[in-house]
């Protein structure tokens, strides 16, 4: 366990060395939040609320969705693909740790870094510019913390899955890009899931994506109340457990049929 904590620490320090890159990142996210803020204000027009969300809740939703993205987002799928292509992965196999676990920990180090140097200051800046409401209830913050940890897990698992698929496709930049687009749309980053037509919502109930962005954001804006919060968290836990199966299966098959092209 100690070695994995060390990996988190090292990645954190590595990110810290390049922290100036992140100031512009906050600006980029603020620009995106701004675009959606104006768009949603125009969409709401004179309407008090749509699907149970007021315009202020909607602004908060967008802001928290983007800022939480900084925490759960990572490029480990790209890194894994790169290491497989370069043949470096062969060396990783003989090292005394689980390769996928190591990648997850690096992602977590990055996430913790971005949470402290990006999301928290970013959220503060954004709340000065746009009308955003923070919940005063301690329970909301507790559930939100749980929810973003689970959203990190689910998102990382999907990244591992796409990354490991490189063993079979050799070059899967296209798949990685497609996955990113699908996640932006179906995770609830751009649109709350409750805004979709009924049939689409039913389909998405059978997919893991809303565990990534919709659930934490709805908890934060208090769009979910009472039992809905527990159901949402359960949804995340179940998917986090289910996704272990395909990852492990692919990993075992990949190890058997590994071809290293140089390295």
């Amino acid at each position: 366990m100690g070695k994995y904590i060390e990996m988190i620490r090292i990645r954190f320090l590595m990110m810290l060395a390049y922290r100036t890159n992140y100031y512009s990142g906050i600006l980029i996210y603020s620009i995106n939040i701004g675009a959606y803020y104006f768009l949603w204000s125009a969409i709401y027009g004179n309407k008090g609320e749509i699907e149970g969300l007021s315009v202020i809740q909607m602004t908060t939703y967008i802001a928290v969705a983007w800022m939480a993205r900084a925490f759960y987002f990572n490029n480990i799928d790209r890194e894994i693909a790169q290491e497989i292509k370069e043949g470096k992965v062969a060396v990783e196999f003989i090292r005394p740790y689980h390769y996928l676990m190591m990648k997850t920990m690096q992602g977590l180090g990055e996430g913790i870094f971005r949470l402290s140097f990006f999301s928290i200051p970013g959220m503060f800046i954004v709340s000065l510019i746009f009308p955003i409401e923070f919940s005063a209830a301690a329970s909301t913050w507790l559930f939100f913390t749980l929810a973003i940890i689970l959203s990190f897990i689910v998102n990382t698992q999907i990244n591992l899955l796409t990354g490991v698929l490189t063993f079979f496709f050799f070059n899967n930049d296209g798949l990685i890009r497609a996955k990113r687009v699908v996640i932006d749309l179906f995770s609830g980053l751009l649109l709350p899931i409750s805004f979709y037509p009924g049939w689409a919502q039913q389909v998405m109930d059978f997919l893991p994506f809303q565990a990534i962005s919709y659930i934490p954001s709805m908890i934060f804006t208090e769009g979910f109340q009472g039992a809905a919060v527990y159901e949402a968290l359960l949804f995340q836990v179940v998917w986090a457990a289910i996704l272990i199966i395909p990852i492990q299966a692919l990993w075992i098959i990949a190890k058997k049929q590994l071809i290293v092209q140089g390295g």
Binding site: N21, G45, K47, F169, F170, N171, V181, L190, L191, P197
Partner: protein, 261 residues
Amino acid sequence: MKHATIFFLYVSQYMKTRLTYRVDMAMEIMSDLLFQAVNLIFILVVFGHTNMLSGWSRDEIIFIYGFFLVPFAIFGAFFNIWDFNERYIVKGEMDRILTRPVHSLFQIILERMELESLFGMITGIAVMVYAGSRLDLTLSWYDPFVFLMMVIGGAFVYAGIFVLLASISFWSDSRTSIMPMMYNIGNYGRYPVDIYNKVIRFILTWILPFAFVGVYPSAYFLGREEWYGYAFLTPVIGFAFFGFAIFMWNIGVTKYRGAGN
């Protein structure tokens, strides 16, 4: 003539390299399509909850998005210079470019082209045809030519802004994230400018004129006469920005010192 020959030589070379990984190329085109579909789905879902967006109907917004895709596809295919600083200045690749007897920007365009982006034009035109037929838009004989001018103008607006930003690297080679940020600001141009406040509207019209890539030229085809003045400015702004960008680039090249390699 020389330039045309070089262009086609590069294109054929490009096709060969891309066709080596066919599955990957298909996936890339698919993911581009998906990306375009996401924005369309966004508009469709939003209009499930409202009928008008600051006086613009659903089909008009879809039309604007369709138009935006066409100049953006051309820009995406030929002006991949968002990583110019790292790729050419920091790594010293610019040295190689400058030893050859063709304009440096032209070479970089050819080296970095991504022709599969051009599929976006087809999507864009299809989206416009769909929205246009629902709006009962009629075309006169000169409209295709106007369309061509507007598209070129729009693509030049994008190209001008990005070339201008790339030229900054000749003076300062420190890493900046202005270029990726521009892609995000560009998204503002996809929606009618009336939804933004005055400051943003001014910026989108005169400073970073992304509104000339989407809403202004579309207003002409949608018959929104109150915006005609801006619509016809599209090619003017496009050529002015691109011309200015080339001018700055040419000055910048003379200031290039090389980072060594």
